[in-house]
Symmetry: C2
Subunit: 260 residues, 2 copies
DNA sequence: ATTACTAATACACGAGTAA
DNA sequence: TTTACTCGTGTATTAGTAA
């Protein structure tokens, strides 16, 4: 969901893509000869690819003697959409702002806040994932502190204020970012910027589906690049309103915004 | 340009995609270890992938001892965009209308018209390719004849009328279509519908960059599916106005439209 | 015509190593 | 640490064949 899809087998994905292009998302009849042509491979290899895809659960088949009827399964379509998302990231999401910062300690406080149900439910619903319970805290370099203000002009996912019996919790904005480590590793996530506090201009907090420190092999003091995307679409493929299964159900009448 | 990109090596393309996602479209530093992680492969394999991409002209590299600086070449970006185009076809271009017809003879007349400079230049400029000199003529089945009228509501590329010293040639509309043969082979092209003639409602003429009869292994009488796309974008990736090299230069002051 | 098996071969992979 | 070489092994591939 976050990083580039570690797509099973690139060769199998290529075959699946061709099946889908031939109409396999609904149902279509293919022949191994035609598929082999497309893949620059033999009919035997094409046959094996289809078997592989079937046993991987990405494809359903009905072999009928003079060919075979195939349809891409939901898992197969999800895999294809994963690839598609990668290419969209490549060519559609132009990066609006690039910041650099050093990883700094203090997982504690951020961890506490983002796991609170009032926030967690909104993350799940609006970002399309449940954040790893912990934030990556960055201390921006001088140049980045200067440019940080530009973030206000970038499209963000709003996180509404909420309250429990004890206190109220402020609203925030989530900016879609790609974190790029110095060794080329990268992960997608969101920079979360509280609406109120404008001190701490040299700090940036990032959440992601996975543990960023582990995925990017980061330790305190490492510098990292933060690419803020112009369009903050969620990674979630299709259903932007399917979040009933995660966290507290949201009260549609809850008082939002404007909290001191 | 027309069918799905017969992308060199799927594994190499996967590597190229990851390099690009890591920022390689401009320039970025990668390590074979990180790339190997992403590809579920060893560092040796990652190293070999990068060498392969380099010798294929898809990537430029500067090995610097503690890593390597890489940038995707224009050819590499074109290959990636080819993949991207495939996925867009999968998930963006919803098919608006599906017709079926039988291949019928008569390449002669269509061939004559589409090779006329006044038409050919427009095809090159507006469709992004020079059509194979010949049209595929289809005789629609009864159901398709009935539904054919819906095509009027679909987005089309206009082809303007023009004239030479002898006569005038009428305007037409080009609808982006995907032809799917019964064996699963498919090709992209355009249905070309003259603006004037409304007899011949059971005929459909299709042009494409390649010889459709050969690519789809068609002979007279074979039936084929014609998927008319809702959005008639050209296949040409980027430069919609680069067509000086193909056919006659268009006179910007030529009288267009309104011809009896 | 299909699909898919078996068998021979080629090629790709990763371990080890050097620079 | 890097990259990338060689080399032994294993897997993927194709040819041939059967159903």
């Amino acid at each position: 969901m976050s990083e580039a899809t570690a797509a099973a087998d690139p060769a199998a994905m290529a075959a699946l893509k061709h099946v889908a292009l031939a109409g396999g998302l609904t149902e279509t009849k293919v022949s191994c000869a035609a598929l082999g042509d497309r893949l620059d491979a033999s009919t035997q290899t094409a046959s094996r690819r289809l078997q592989t895809l079937e046993s991987a659960g990405l494809l359903e088949r009905d072999v009928v003697g003079d060919g075979q009827w195939v349809r891409v399964t939901d898992a197969g379509e999800a895999a294809l959409r994963g690839e598609y998302a990668d290419y969209r990231r490549l060519f559609e999401s132009d990066v609006e702002l690039v910041l650099r910062g050093a990883v700094t300690g203090g997982m504690g406080e951020g961890r506490h806040y983002i796991t609170l149900p009032g926030y967690a439910a909104q993350f799940a619903a609006r970002l399309g994932y449940e954040p790893f319970p912990g934030t990556l805290n960055l201390e921006l370099d001088a140049e980045s502190v200067r440019r940080r203000g530009e973030i206000a002009g970038i499209d963000a996912v709003p996180i509404d204020a909420w309250e429990d019996e004890d206190r109220t919790y402020g609203a925030a904005a989530c900016y879609a970012v790609t974190l790029v480590a110095d060794d080329g590793r990268y992960e997608d996530g969101h920079a979360i910027v509280p609406d109120r506090t404008h001190h701490d201009d040299d700090k940036l907090e990032v959440i992601a589906p996975d543990e960023l420190r582990a995925e990017l092999d980061l330790t305190d003091g490492d510098t990292i690049e933060v690419r803020v995307e112009a369009t903050s679409r969620a990674d979630a493929p299709d259903d932007p309103d399917a979040f009933e299964d995660s966290g507290e159900p949201e009260d549609p009448d809850e008082p939002l915004g404007e909290v001191a």
